[in-house]
Every structure is written in C-alpha cells, then in structure tokens.
C-alpha cells in the first residue's frame, strides 16, 4: 500500500451516470487485477474505494457510477486537478487459477475490474470469454474495449434492448475452466449457483479505512471472518458463506 498524489489526466462520461477517469501518478503498489484504490476527496471525510479498471505505465483508469456525494464530487473533477490516493489495496484476482479458458462475468459497474484481468489473461495467452450484463442498452459500456483485446464477448440486457435478453446466467458458454466475477450481490449469488467450475468472486461493501484497520467491511466465510478490504475483495467460491 502506498499513498500518492495523482493528477486527473482525462475524464469522460460512458453512460448516463457512469464515468471513466484517468489518473497519472505512482502506480507501483498496484500488483494485481481486481485490487482497488481509495480516493481522498475534498470536503469528504472517508475515502472512496474504487476498483482498478486499467493500468498502463503511470496511468490508472477507474470507472464509477455516480451514486452519492463522493462519486458526484469525483465526476466534477477536471484534468490537472490532484487527488491523494491509497493504491495497492486488496488481494485482487489470481490469474494462476484461470486454466486455459477463463470466463469473466461482470454486471454493471462490476465490469471494470474484469478489464485489467482480461488484459492480463490475454497477455498470458488464455482464451478469454467475457459476459457483460446490464439492465438496458443505455447502460452498456466497454463492450468494444473487451473485444479489442481479443476476448469473446457476450452482452446481456435485462430488458432485451441489446444483446441477449436476460441475465448474465442466460449467456454462459458450455465450456470454461474458471470463473472470475464482479457485480451486484444477487448476480454473484446466481453465478455461484450456475457455474460448474471454481470461481473468484469480487465483493463490494461499505468500507471505513480500506486497509484492514477498522473492521467495517467484515464478512463471514467458511474459513472464518474476513475483511473485504484486506483478505478480499476477491473470495474463492468454496469459502463463500452467503448471509440471508
């Protein structure tokens, strides 16, 4: 973990309320796809955690949905402005688990961390399939980006306005060797029920510190209590214990 000042390099709107921001700075603490960073925004007390979508040299790409004061403030930031960022948080995805044909399943703003993962897996020569689920056509983003790095991509929309009508579980291929997923909890539960291989599931929880000190984001697992920010956000399928 490191704290560094990052500079906003670019920001663009991907959908009605989803933004992509590019930040430049010391990215050396980011060691794995699926990790997250924690941004300290002006006039807000707690930092805001966001998963890393892409990393190229000193450029960090984050994608976020505007859901509250933190993400609203972030969406108003313009190139040249600076933000203190804690980087290299969380365990991230382990590409060694992938096998030859990994399946990536993302829902909504759960899609971004899978992009850097897809790039890493492609660089390792894996045949990557990505199933990206959204509610409706206006919410779809990053389909082109996944195709451009050589992934086989299926997009689902719940209302059928684009791609396959239905949920991500309606578009699963027959053959895959490991599942990597991130998205809302109902989607994760459905994926957990449907898949026939091991899986790496990335969870979201409201955090205090983001580095394991406050016990704000604890969860129960088969192997004991874990902190989503420290032992997570990625948990293996066999250790997940769903709470009702």
């Amino acid at each position: 973990m490191k704290e560094e000042w990052f500079t906003v390099a670019a920001q663009r709107q991907l959908t009605d309320n989803v933004y992509e921001i590019k930040l430049t700075g010391d990215t050396s603490a980011v060691t794995r796809p699926g990790q997250f960073v924690n941004l300290r925004l002006d006039k807000l007390f707690l930092r805001r955690p966001l998963s890393v979508c892409d990393l190229e040299g000193d450029v960090l790409t984050l994608i976020y949905k505007v859901v509250g004061r933190g993400t609203e403030a972030l969406s108003r930031m313009t190139p040249g402005q600076t933000i203190p960022v804690l980087t290299g948080l969380g365990n991230g995805y382990d590409t060694a688990r992938s096998g030859t044909e990994p399946l990536l399943i993302g829902g909504g703003v759960g899609v971004p961390p899978l992009y850097l993962l897809a790039k890493s897996l492609r660089a390792e020569g894996k045949n990557v399939t990505a199933v990206l689920g959204f509610n409706t056509v206006r919410e779809v983003f990053y389909e082109k980006e996944f195709r451009a790095i050589g992934c086989k991509v299926a997009v689902t929309t719940a209302d059928g306005s684009y791609g396959i009508k239905g949920f991500v579980t309606d578009a699963l291929p027959e053959r895959y060797t490991h599942v990597y997923t991130c998205g809302p909890e109902p989607m994760l539960r459905a994926v957990y029920r449907e898949i026939h291989t091991g899986g790496s599931f990335s969870f979201e929880k409201r955090m205090g510190c983001g580095f394991g000190a406050c016990m704000g984001c604890s969860c129960k697992t088969v192997t004991g209590y874990k902190r989503i920010c420290k032992e997570g956000p990625v948990l293996q399928k066999e250790e997940i214990r769903w709470e009702d």
């Binding site: 973990m1 929880k205 394991g212 604890s218 969860c219």
Partner: protein, 301 residues
C-alpha cells in the same frame, strides 16, 4: 526524557500520542507501514471474553467532518489475543501496550482484565464501559455512576496494572461518572468514546447502518470531546487521556491544555494511516510556535 515525554499512571511515554482502540487493530497493519515504536503506545482493538463477529454490515457511514461506526466489538476473544495477537505484536512493538477491554457483565470484565493483566506486554488496562449492561436492563455501565464504580471495583480487585476507565459522552453529567470511577479506585480516565448518531439513505429512506445507530467520531466531535476532557480533568485528580476528533499536533496541544495527560487519536488513522507518525513529527514545531518548552509543563492549572 525528551520534551515530548509524559507520564501516564506511572509509566513513561516518549510522547503523548496513542492510537485509539478500534482504529489500529492489534498493530500489525500499521507496523507494515511505519515503525510503530515511535508511538507513545497504542490501545488495541476492544477485546471481550468470547470471540465476536460484531454487527451486521453496513457498519460505516460517512458524515460531514466525521464518520459513524457500528462495528460492534468484532474481536477474536481474549484467549486468541493473548496466544496469537500479542506474540505477533512482540515482534514489531517493544513498548507496553494498552489493552482495551469490553464486556457484557461485571464478571466478564473482571475475567478478561485479569487475563490481560498477567501479560508482560500489557502496560495499562483501558476498560470501555459504554456497552449494554445485560445484567442491568439494557443501560450502559458507563451511563450510571454506581454501575461504573462496580466495574472498577471488580476489575481492580483482580488486577495489578493501571486501570483506565473509558467513558461514553452520552451522559448528562460526565464529571459525576468520572468521580465515581476515581472513588472506586480507577487509576485514570479516558474519554470520549463516540457520540451516538444516525444517518438515513435518501434513496432507500432507510438507515445507512444495519444497526440503525452508530458512534460518531472524527473532527466533528473535537469541541465536545475537549469540553468533556476539561470538565473531567477539573473533577478528578487521576490522569485523564483525551480523545475525540484529534487529527493534528495542534489538536494534541489543545487537549493537553484542557488537562489531558496523554491523547488518543482515532478516526484520523482510518483516513490517513500515517496520521500518528505525522502528528508526532509535527509536535516540536507546533510547541515552538506556541512557546511550549516541554509537554509535561502543559498539564495542570
């Protein structure tokens, strides 16, 4: 003895800066970031007799100039703290540590304190009496002078190390509770614990915290904390450890001017993991700016 050194219940501290319980774990996460031996000491995660998962999540909510938490005393239980956490801590921290203890009955407080009192690494017992008193009909031990005094007496009867009682600010007369603790034999008072608060999510129209209410900490509570530290420091003769929204060297000086012998730093650690390191580094310059030669000169009338 440096110009930052202070005394807390007969044990010397290199400086008055103490990370507060619940914001510093058992030290390990921070020892990976900096040498935690620069601290005066730290107060470890509130420990109970049995392991606890704590409250359901969400347990955290952001607030203007602060945060709410309703973690609910998640901890591995005193036996695992003694057998796993303290040996691990011994590798990276070589000073007496402050053992923070919580409980749900007088007997539980006494048992947990006795076990930790027997650990050579423990310098002080900080007894948190702001939990529901399951034996007394749902009130906090810390909101009633007689209940507070009963915890102090039972703990003192089975321990040898300094016992510091951590008080809740959610009371009408904090000085009366502090005095009751002093008369029952407490060696020190620490305050404030968090202020009870609440937030509602505008979109769902439901409380943000699964527990509905939580404790407010951070800069928002600093003036309240300072006032209560001042009141208690003028009501008792035993040392007072001040905390509540402290985030800078200036805040530490202000707390000590209010009568604190040492100062705990809580929420600041969560947004800046290096907060205590920076406060200690900044103290000498801040003292120079206000003509303070030695910190121990600050305390007193």
């Amino acid at each position: 003895m440096g110009r930052l050194s202070v005394d807390l219940c007969g044990i010397g501290l290199d400086n008055p800066v103490i990370p507060a319980s619940g914001t510093f774990g058992y030290g390990w996460e921070f020892a990976e970031l900096y040498d935690i031996n620069i601290l005066g000491t730290f107060s470890f995660k509130g420990t109970t007799r049995e392991p606890r998962f704590g409250n359901p999540t969400p347990r955290i909510a952001d607030c203007p100039a602060g945060m709410l938490n309703a973690v609910g005393l998640q901890n591995p239980g005193v036996d695992r703290v003694i057998n796993i956490e303290l040996p691990k801590l011994a590798k990276v921290f070589h000073k007496p540590v402050m053992a923070n203890v919580s409980g749900f009955s007088v007997a539980e407080y006494a048992e947990t304190c006795a076990k930790l009192d027997a650990c050579p690494q423990v310098g002080w017992l900080e007894v948190n009496i702001s939990c529901p008193n399951v034996h007394g009909g749902g009130i906090s031990f810390g909101t009633d002078p007689a209940s507070a005094a009963s915890v102090v007496r039972e703990v003192k009867a089975v321990t040898t190390k300094p016992v510091i009682i951590k008080l809740t600010p959610n009371v009408t007369d904090i000085a009366a509770i502090a005095k009751a603790c002093e008369q029952a034999g407490a060696d020190g008072i620490s305050l404030i614990n968090t202020l009870l608060g609440m937030r509602i999510d505008l979109r769902t129209q439901k409380p943000v915290l699964a527990n509905t209410t939580g404790g407010l900490s951070g800069p928002a509570v600093f003036p309240v904390a300072l006032r209560m530290v001042w009141q208690v420091a003028h009501a008792v003769k035993i040392p007072v450890v001040g905390m509540g929204g402290v985030g800078s060297a200036e805040d530490v000086l202000e707390m000590m001017m209010a009568g604190a012998a040492a100062v705990e730093v809580g929420a600041a650690n969560l947004i800046d993991p290096w907060a205590c390191q920076k406060i200690i580094r900044d103290l000498p310059d801040a003292m120079d700016r206000y003509g303070i030669r030695e910190l121990k000169d600050l305390r007193g009338e």
